[in-house]
């Protein structure tokens, strides 16, 4: 039993109480039950290419240093000194061998090991009385790296990321494994959106219904002429394991010709064909469907599209973004440009341009989403929103049967539907209900693992 049983029951029936998009109590529950239990994205390996490189990333109230230590290993450390709690790193990007706390000078190596304590002998009695190896910067309770993407989980007993991700893994490879060298990311751009975090996450999970209307201006100016509603209707929505997304229909052809039309070079197409899972190659080459937006529950989204960057050039691009909650009515969007590491500089430049014309705070698609989502959040905080039930049942009859049957000829993993429907938003909310229902984790558990000596993790109570 939780305080939110009524909400959970309603959401599971496809009816969303409108106040869930601006509710302080619910947000407190999400912090403990959703964000403290799921795998969260922090950074990509390519952001810290050299030894000593680091970036600092937040997830809710927690600040983490993601560094590449002197042995080349990626480390994720809680950015809080073990002495009096100061943040040992206050820059967001840089290169250093050590982090020195500005407060009293405790100094940690870039793998988290405490190596310097001022007046160690006089103040603490030296190593006999204060074992420095017991005072490393707190590691993330669990960490996994997939395709260079660094994920952490604040619950040391959580199922491994791979089991949570499940069949979505193939789609993750579509976005982040276009060749044996993988991807590199640029950015991120960060901006504060006065909107609830759930709106962006569920939109990217499969709201194909908004494209023809919200983004009509983009097709009117020919930036992406294919974005019109008729085309969108020919796409699909799939949900696979821990994530779901939508696909966009392509003109007749095979894998090379379909990727060629949207701006990939022969060499890039060959690399993709040799690297992608067969499901993805068949989805594009045989079904004529290419993944567009997707979300891994809870708050990491991906997008692949193409745009006209000049009168004569169409270029594809990939982006990845976090809907990082700040409060029930504010979200920091953290948006990265993602590109095939082995692509030439000319392609990378043009692809960045396509990304920026379409997404990010200045993007001609994303500008309009932000206006809508902030408006929803504002009005969801009032008294009337406590009476309003939003319809999340598109694609269902009143007896809960589906208007259309699931696709039987879909080559990608997961269950897929054609046309329009809120199948994915309901699946996304099923996961949200699962976590709210099972409640918070026991945060009394702490974790530690030896630094400088490998990755053996121990849990201790």
């Amino acid at each position: 039993m939780t305080d939110h049983d009524d909400i959970i029951t309603s959401v599971r029936s496809g009816i969303l109480p409108a106040h869930i998009y601006n509710d302080a109590d619910l947000f407190a529950a999400e912090r403990e039950s959703v964000f403290a239990k799921n795998w969260l994205f922090l950074a990509h390996e390519s952001e810290v290419p050299d030894r000593g490189d680091y970036v600092v990333r937040q997830q809710l109230g927690d600040s983490f240093i993601v560094s590449r230590d002197e042995s080349g290993e990626i480390r994720v450390m809680f950015n809080m000194c073990l002495h009096r709690g100061m943040q040992v790193c206050r820059a967001e990007i840089g290169n250093t061998s050590h982090f020195r706390c500005p407060y009293h000078g405790w100094t940690y190596k870039n793998d988290g090991a405490l190596v310097g304590v001022p007046f160690f002998k006089e103040a603490y009695g030296g190593e006999d009385e204060l074992r420095r190896s017991d005072h490393s910067l707190l590691p993330a309770p669990a960490m996994e790296i997939v395709n260079g993407l660094v994920f952490v989980c604040l619950d040391p007993d959580a199922p491994p990321f791979s089991s949570r991700l499940g069949e979505f893994r193939d789609y993750l490879d579509f976005y982040t494994r276009p060749g044996p060298d993988g991807v590199e990311v640029r950015g991120p751009q960060r901006w504060r959106l006065p909107a609830n975090w759930k709106i962006g996450a569920e939109n990217f999970a499969g709201d194909t219904y908004h494209t023809p209307h919200t983004h009509l201006s983009v097709s009117e100016i020919g930036l992406m002429s294919d974005a019109k509603g008729g085309k969108r209707k020919g796409g699909t929505m799939y949900f696979a394991g821990g994530g779901g997304g939508a696909t966009f229909p392509l003109a007749p052809g095979d894998l090379p010709s379909r990727l060629g039309v949207i701006g990939y070079t022969d060499e890039m197409i060959k690399r993709r064909a040799e690297t992608w899972p067969v499901t993805i190659s068949a989805l594009i080459g045989k079904d004529g469907q290419i993944p567009s937006a997707a979300t891994i529950f809870p708050n990491l989204s991906f997008l692949h599209l193409w745009a006209r960057v000049s009168e004569s050039q169409i270029v594809p691009f990939t982006t990845m973004r976090l809907w990082q909650p700040v409060s029930e009515q504010e979200t920091e969007v953290v948006s990265w440009f993602v590109v095939d590491k082995a692509a030439d500089e000319e392609f990378k430049r043009a692809s960045y341009k396509a990304y920026q014309m379409c997404f990010g705070p200045s993007g001609m698609f994303e500008q309009d989403d932000m206006e809508n989502w902030s408006s929803i959040t504002r009005v969801a905080g009032g008294t009337m929103a406590r009476r309003l039930q939003l319809n999340n049942r598109m694609g269902l009859r009143t007896d809960d049967s589906t208007i259309a049957e699931p696709l039987t000829n879909f080559s990608g993993p997961g269950a897929a539907y054609g046309g329009f429907g809120e199948f994915n938003q309901r699946r996304w909310f099923d996961l949200w209900c699962r976590d709210l229902e099972s409640g918070p984790i026991d945060t009394k558990k702490t974790t530690s693992y030896p630094t400088s000596e490998g990755d053996d993790r121990e849990h201790e109570r």
Binding site: P194, K353, P361, D368
Partner: protein, 185 residues
Amino acid sequence: MSTSADAGVQYDVGAALSSGDPAHHAAYDFLMAEAQVLDDHDLEQWLDLLCEDVTYRVPVRVTTARGSACDVLGDASHLDEDRYSLGKRIERLRTEHAWAEDPPSRTRHFVTNVRCFATDSPDLLAVTSYLLLFRSRGDARPPDLISGVRSDVLRAQPAGGYRLLRRVVIMDESVLRSQNLAVFL
């Protein structure tokens, strides 16, 4: 002295001109007129103030330790525009479906601390200015404030007057406190 090369245009920037210099007056007048055009939402007229080979860039600002080589990302930006993409952005805002600016924001571009520098090219003027952009949307929402410094290059036109050849805006915040960047800086 510093050498810059943008979009194939090379120039060396020299000493600051006195605020009494006629070139300084010309640059100042250009910036004041441009601010009014932007705040009047007269975006077609704004396009007419730009050279055909204009470049317009707003790189991503980051927080770095003192002594770090730089605090902007060289390969990531919020805007990195040419005449084509600026024209497309304005064309979009003129459709009936650009929700981001409908109703339109009320903006005020406060442009101050103008400094003008001669270059070794007779038709190019380098100009720096501070920008404070106030942007109000809807009724009671807190307004957006964007603070930054512009580094511009103006090119003299054969028929008289100047046009903007290059603009780089370095913003003072690393996290943009604005739901989007649907207005020009």
